[in-house]
Amino acid sequence: MADGRTPSSAGEDGTPPPGPDPVGHVHAVRPFLVTAGRVAPSANGKTMPVETQVVATAEGLAGLDRLSFEQHDIVAACRRPQSIAEIAARLRLHLNVVRILSEDLRAAGQLTVHVPDSGVIHDASVLRRVIDGLRAIPDSRGVLRDTD
């Protein structure tokens, strides 16, 4: 994080972002034109949470050339698991556009979509893992938190 100069649109594995860097560009197309007018976030009526993880399938990556525009960019951005919030931020798309297109791409077999189980909020073992993980983070001076 020190240099802070890494283009946020670059893939984590260092691959260049597809197409020109969108940073600073204005949307040339109205968001919901991209989704053919659809605004409902998902098929089952539940909104896909922002932290939902999305991963490209081998099929999706193999067929990248046949995808266009936003669909192409989303699949290309998901070589590694991404949350839909990250996809929206990196590709400069509205969250709901990412939700809708991700659902389409999942139905077409080009992505897998992993909606988190809402029961995790009450899962003490998960909470303990998060607590332990955070405790291991040193403060700015590299000193671990004292146990109280």
């Binding site: 994080m1 802070g4 890494t6 946020s8 968001p31 909104t47 949470p49 922002v50 932290e51 939902t52 993880q53 999305v54 991963v55 490209a56 399938t57 081998a58 590694r80 698991p81 949350s83 919030a85 990250e86 929206a88 931020a89 990196r90 509205h94 969250l95 709901n96 897998t112 992993h114 988190p116 809402s118 995790v120 909020i121 009450h122 899962d123 003490a124 998960v126 909470l127 303990r128 893992r129 998060v130 607590i131 993980g133 955070l134 405790r135 983070i137 040193p138 403060d139 700015s140 001076r141 000193v143 938190r145």
Partner: protein, 199 residues
Amino acid sequence: MTPTEPATRPAAAQAAARPPLPVKMVIAGGFGVGKTTAVGSISEIEPLTTEAAITEVAAGVDDLSHTPRKTTTTVAMDFGCITIDPTLKLYLFGTPGQERFGFMWDDLVEGAIGGLVIVDTRRLDDCYAAVDYFEHKQIPFAVAVNAFDGHVEHTMEEVRWALDVNDRVPVVVFDARERGSVRDALLVVLEQALARTEG
């Protein structure tokens, strides 16, 4: 007893990578209280910003709206993340605390393991909406007073009184610029969340 079959390697590039379990916390508060600073202090990535379109029904509470029509507003949401381990990833979402962003809140907060309400003691009323929201939704949260320039204008008791928060809601002082300070504030929230699962 123990099966001796060798650890099966995943079908490598064939199968899609297994994503981590994502959990999220929401960092709330009024404009300029240090939400993005707090996220940036502890996130392993530079905070990202995404815009979400929200539809609000102007119900006449907004001074500026004279027509009870639906309007679409775009709000910015800053977020970062912390990889706890390869199978677990914590996302931190910073969101405006204004009441008029209620739609955004439901969309965002559903499934959050906890919330941190950042408060600037010079503008206490900016955080009421966030406090009310977390209380109403019964999401574990703590109030974190951001010590701008290392000092706070009110005592914790005054803050607690002014916010009228339940005695069980922790109120802490922190510095949004300090990673360790943000970490400790998040831990206070998580301890609350854990206590609920046990209580």
